[in-house]
């Protein structure tokens, strides 16, 4: 285990449950590793692989997707959509040499501050064990005079 | 107990060691120690509690308060029969039986175990026998224990021993594993 290594975690959290749980972790002053950066979405059903892979490309060593417990989704079934996407994405990550443990889907209810704390702590430990993830990509050479990223429209 | 305290003396905080509770909580069985609500369900369920100097609930309270001496010299931890009634009934899921084991270990290590009851001696004799042979022999074990505690008991138990012998329920041969030294190495390497 690399003691020096401070993993970066991106948490994409559902507004109604896991984000509330992090809020509650704050109000209850539970202390957890500062390695997580949080992006709030209204529902885990908004979270898509493109955001997750983007996070890995941008330097995240792990991505935590937080949604409501099955059956508790504020938008009825958004969390199940997240479950489907994450499940399929996890089968693909190893092909890219990325350990599936680096992507974590957790159901953390709004009152589960302790679970939130534990999750971040555990995840940080897991990532310390796995070591850093270094995605290296070639720059796209932009057409002179116009900012272009990726494919550009007609 | 070292000396009987005067009932009218207040217990002074200086005699208490708050770190003791933390240490016990670290060891196996101590997991939920600080969640105890002193409800007494453990003591109520315990078949031995009526014979103990402190009930299991009191022991937990004493650990948390830091009454190290009193706890480690208490007979309670040795009277536990390992029936686990307390563990399954505890509303805070404290593993009280396992807690008793870790207190026994501590008492043996610190040499503060109560000398009046034979149980600590038996624990050591049993441990030594397993250490030496890898298996135990009931007859020999009890002989050792009685010799180390009260040899008169040996005489008192003779009729029972004879009865067991007559019914083919006692062997004198010390059974052992194939290579006791390997077993000793195993135990040595986790120390």
């Amino acid at each position: 285990m690399n003691k020096e290594f401070e993993p970066k975690i991106l948490g994409i959290l559902c507004n109604w449950c896991s984000y509330m749980a992090s809020d509650l972790a704050g109000t209850s002053r539970s202390q957890y590793p500062p390695n997580i950066r949080v992006v709030r979405v209204m529902c885990s059903g908004r979270i898509e692989p493109q955001l997750i892979l983007w996070a890995f490309q941008q330097g995240a060593d792990g991505v935590l997707v937080g949604g409501c417990n099955p059956g508790d989704c504020h938008y009825q079934e958004g969390n199940y959509k997240a479950l489907r996407r994450v499940t399929l994405l996890k089968t693909m990550l190893p092909q890219f040499g990325i350990e599936p443990e680096r992507l974590r889907l957790e159901w953390i209810c709004a009152s589960c501050a302790e679970e939130m704390r534990k999750t971040v702590e555990e995840f940080t430990n897991t990532l310390c064990r796995l070591g850093p993830l270094k995605v290296q990509i070639p720059q796209i050479i932009p057409v002179t005079g116009k900012a272009v990223v990726e494919y550009v429209q007609t | 107990m070292t000396e009987r305290l005067n009932r009218h003396d207040a217990r002074r905080q200086a005699d208490f060691d708050l770190n003791f509770g933390k240490e016990v909580a670290e060891a196996p069985g101590g997991e939920n120690l600080y969640e105890c609500i002193q409800c007494g369900a453990c003591s109520g369920a315990c078949p031995m509690s009526a014979y103990m100097d402190h009930t299991p609930r009191e022991i937990i309270g004493m650990i948390r308060s830091g009454m190290k001496e009193d706890v480690l010299r208490s007979e309670t931890v040795w009277l536990c029969a390992s029936c686990y009634s307390c563990t399954v009934i505890c509303p805070r899921q404290i593993k009280i039986t396992d807690l008793m084991y870790s207190l026994r270990q501590r008492a043996l290590k610190d040499n503060t175990y109560p000398k009046r009851i034979p149980l600590p001696v038996m624990a050591r004799d049993f441990y030594k026998m397993v250490h030496r042979h890898g298996r135990t022999n009931e007859g020999r074990l009890m002989t050792n224990v009685y010799l180390h505690t009260n040899p008169f008991d040996l005489i008192r138990q003779t009729p029972l021993a004879l009865k067991l012998w007559r019914h083919g329920r006692m062997h004198l041969r010390q059974e052992s594993v194939e290579k006791p030294s390997e077993l000793r190495d195993l135990m040595q390497s986790v120390k």
């Binding site: 704050g26 979405v41 955001l51 983007w54 330097g59 209810c109 990726e150 | 509690s49 609930r57």
Partner: protein, 670 residues
Amino acid sequence: MLLRDEFSKNGDIRIGVYVCDCGTNIAGKVRVPEVVEYAGTLPHVVVAKEYKYMCSDPGQDMIRREIKEQKLNRLLVAACSPHVHEETFRNVAAQAGLNPFLFQMVNIRELVSWVTKDPDKATAKAKDMIRAAANRVLFHEELEPLKYHIKRNVVIVGGGIAGIHAALLLADSGEHVYLVERESSIGGHMAMFDKTFPTLDCAACILTPKMTMVKSHPNITIMSYSEVVEVNGFVGDFKVKVRKKPRYVDEENCVGCFECIDACVFKDARYPNEFDFGLGKRKPIYMPFPQAVPPVPVIDADTCIEFKTGKCPKECLKACGERAGIDFAQKEEIVELEVGSIIVATGFDSFDPKKMPQYGYGIYSNVYTSLEAERLFNASGPTAGELVLRDGSKPKSVGIIHCVGSRDENHNRWCSRVCCMYSMKLAHLVKERTNADVFNFYIDIRAAGKGYEEFYNRTMEEGVQYIRGKVAEVTDNAQTKDEEGKLVIRVEDTLLGMIRRIPVDMVILSVGLEPQHDALEVTKMFNISCSGGGWFMERHPKLAPVSTMSGGVFLAGACQAPKDIPDTVAQAGAAASEALALSHKGVIEVEPNTAFIDETLCSGCQVCVGLCPYSAISYDQEKKISILNQALCQGCGVCAGACPSGAAQQHLFNDSQLMAEIEGALAGVL
């Protein structure tokens, strides 16, 4: 898409960053001046300021002033959770003439200063989060809040004391209320009780008048023997489907004479009455209790001979005669209601003590639950208020065991809050009716209410024995003569530090409260969530205790957490006034975080159509693309997440905003 450089070229984005100290809440961990200095170096940031309390008047004034002076067109406040002050600062922006959705809140309190030990790391994390937001706001656009008209009807789910009280309040203020109750009578648990603590009012005397008022109120429609099966729509405009179960007695035609019950071919009541937990008996056609509302009998198809064999002489039908109240052909019916708000008052279940076999419930006949005991004490209960055991004898000693199923990690971890008090009440009633010896076994006495401690003292004076200790077991194993034929309670008397065995004739288990067995389905139906243990979750534990995360859905009573009657009634009143405030406002504004579909990009693949939980997306046969109805969209973003071509997007959470935010969040060196 992500044309970041376009902004840098334009140079017309002007961001103001305001970092709050929150006293020492933030500044105690995060080095705010350093963060402010850093924020000032971020692209497009033209001003970065620190202030002690950004949400205070001077703080707000400063922001308003600077938005104008510095011509800010993006606003960023780094302070507490958006759940606390997002609304505040959106208003500040709006007051200064800035579209409120060009604002972004950065949570550096709950997510940073309160959860991080190390000041260096807290400071670094705060910087990262501000950078993420500064990245994100580049892609914000002006939006208008969505406005909806609110319907004035209210549906109340659950006809216990909470539902009854809320219904009367709303109805008196002129709103029309549908009171849906799944049992055949309203009244709930309170109707089972004999007396109520601590004043010992007779429950029936205070409840039944209210039940009658509900019955006769022109603004209340009682839908008993009915259940909500589906809820659609949103705040102001819910469509609620209710299933009316057939009771085989026509509510319109029935005059409440009960001649049908007398006439039933079963001369004696022989089936266990569920309302009495089987301690009393009923006929196949029955009233659960005499004061039931509506006062209309119900036929239990499982026990009625006509339903079982079709060969009953149907004496009930004959007795009813021209009144034509009996209707064997009645069918289940689905009724759809349109309402503006919903009050969920579904109450609680009691813990099943069979899960704790050490207490002998279901094994020894003289072990009762507290609710069974309530029925025994009730004057209109199975024993007409006499406390007698199953063999007809009066107990000479009674043990009341508190916290059964409560405060126990193996079962329910919470304190059920009412058991201490009702156990004292039962102890008092035992004393009053039988003068038996009463032992109450408790872990802690929780008597924190008006007059509660006094009631505790009163029962002690009456001679009730209080033994502090959680009972280990109730057994019929007698070890001495005086224990023969008795139930023996084994317990550590923790105050005396000794193990005791106490023989009694009757054991009452003070069972805890737990969420209704089908609470989970209820949360799904009403789109609300559960907090720990399955109790329905309020929007905020202190500041919005009866609201839920779903707009227009309110909570009343024990469905939210265990409560006694005074608290339940108070909360029902609060829920009613929330519903009333909503309907009086007439119009509601909601955050425009709805989805939209870029028509030029959409191929009409219809992946999104089936995924939308609100059926807000449909396929347009003419245009051959998918169309989104903003009015139905609730803003989950599932469509945006699934859309394979990026045509479906979500306002405030579009791809560019989220990716820019992620990029900013991760750009720091940890």
